[in-house]
Structures are given as structure tokens and as C-alpha cells.
Amino acid sequence: MKSTPHNSKIPCSAPEDSAGDETLRLISSLPAPHGLEDRVHRALRARSDRRGRVLSWPRRLSPQNGWMRTAAAAAIVFVVVGGGWGVYTRVGHYQPSNVIPMPLHMPAAGHFSSAGAMRTPQTLPGPVVVHPLTARAAQAKRSKKPITTLQPMRPAGSGSALKPAAEGGAAK
């Protein structure tokens, strides 16, 4: 490596390969491309402008002015209070009602409407299913109380499937 006033402290007694050093020196001394400084200046200016667009106010509207600050504060307060009042008046208050609203039954698309008919659940006492043996025993006890029961299914061909357990109750 060439000894210069700048790098005189770097030892030159090392096994020096002049060719290797020469190549690195050539690489390190290549001139910078023309107009590099201008391009860097442009990049810096572009970055500064991008930031300045947010910060730079017209002098009259500068937030440093006292009256402008007051006006801005008043406008913010007005918007916040006005908005709150608008919401308060439009929404209204909740009043509990005694009427329970029934859900609307909307007919499905492509189907017949129910014409307003409501499906009503079967709340009357239905037929009591009692085991035949139990039914006969109960009938024997109560002797004259008619009890309507259903008999279990019989095999096909053996007559009707349902037969009242108590003949007296079934026959009128």
C-alpha cells in the first residue's frame, strides 16, 4: 500500500501484495458519477417538502397567531358540542313499554303467504297413552269409568291397528 501522510501509521512491513492493493485502490478511487450531488440534493428537498406540506401554514393562518388559535379552539368546541346535541335529540329516550311486540312472519320468497295466520302450539291435553294391561287393571278397579287408550300396533292383516282399550268408552 502506498504510504501517504494520512495513512503512514498503517504498517507496510506486512507481506504486501502490490497487485491486490493496486486493485483495491483502483476501485476505491473511481470517480463518483456526474450529477450525484444534485440528485442527492433533489432527494433531500423532496423529502423536506413532503414533511413541510403538513407543517407549513400560510402566515395569516399560522397556528402561532393568538386569534387563530382561539378561533380554532372555539370551532372544535362548537363541533363537538353540536354533534353531541344532535345525537342526543335524534336518538330520543328509551321508554319501557307494556306491549310485547310480536315478530312479523314474513313469507318465504316463492311460497304462499300464510295470510296472517299464526301457528298455534297444541296446548289442550292430548290423548293419554296407557299400557293395555295397566288400562285393564285400572278399568277393573274403577269398573265404570271410561278410559280412552291406544293399543299397540298389531301385525298387518290382523284387523285395525288402533282399537280403543275400553270398549265402553269407544262405543257411543
Binding site: A14, A19, T23, L26, I27, S29, A32, S48, R69
Partner: protein, 197 residues
Amino acid sequence: MSTSQVIYAGWMEIPNSAVNDETRLRAEDTALAVLVDQYAGALYRVAYSVLRNPADAEDAVQETFLRVLRHRHSLGEVRDHRVWLIRIVWNIVLDRKRRAKSRPETDDVEELARVLPSTGLSAEEVASAAQHHARVLACVERLPDKERQVLILSAFEELTSVEIASVLGITESSVRSRLFRARNLMAGLLDHQRSLR
């Protein structure tokens, strides 16, 4: 004056610091522009010596100054701007090289022949020199990181060993020992290449 009055007065009045801030910003911009004019070329050469790609080197220089722009308020605290900037660009190019892990463009002999100065040489001599430089650079790439970094920076005649130590964040004696090892290794690698031919 009560506390609320003080706060109110502080809120309403135009602070003197606003004018000072503007002046300070302008001064910092001017200082930054001077730094660009003064050191952009040197930074480019440092970046190019590692990346060996003109476009990447230029990008690295721009990124360096953009970083400086972000921290321009601390420009006054810097003692040696040149070494400070070289350190920034050095870290940027090492980071880029680590991430890209691509082969430098100038390892191609043709590209080296185009880039390196060749005044007064015939076409054959230019091609031969380019081949030689490519072999040397290939050997440099095979050096360990620490030795390679010192060897590359030592090629910059404007950098003293103290400044190289400052850029790399090591002691001056470490720079010397690493440079010694790097040159030994380079000599061995080049001898090995010569024996193969």
C-alpha cells in the same frame, strides 16, 4: 400571577422559540447541503468499494443523507463529519450486502474492463488487466469479514488507521493486526491461484 394565568398566557402568546426554530432549521439545511457537496463523492466510493454496483452505491449515498436529514438536529454534536458520514454509509452498505447476498456486478470481467480506467492500454491489455482485477477481487471476497473490511477501508488513502478504527468501532491496534492478517491471507490466496494456472 396564578398558575392558570401562566398557562393561559403561554397558550395565547407567540413563543419566541418558533422564530428560532425556523432559523435553526434553515441553518441545518444549509449545513446538510454543504455536507452533500463535500462528501457525497467520498461516500459513493466507499459504498462502491463494497457493493461494486453503481446504482446501489448511489442509493446508499442517498440513504445516508436521508438518515442525516432525520437526525440533523444532532449535527452540531458531531466532531468529525467525514468519519461520521463514512461510518453511516459503511453500516448501510454492509447491511445491504448482507440482505442482498448477490454477487457484485463488477466481478464480471467485461464490467470491470468498462469501469476501471484504461487510458493508453490496448484492448488486449485492458482485457488482461480486467481479468487480473477480477481474480484479485474474488480473493478479497474469500477473506473473512473482519479482515476484508479493514483491507477495503485501508485502500482509501484519505482514511488513517485511527479513522478506520473509528468507522469500524474497534481499536487502532486491532486495525493493524487485522490488516496484517488480511495481507497474509491475500498473498496466500493469490499464490495459490498463480500455482493453479
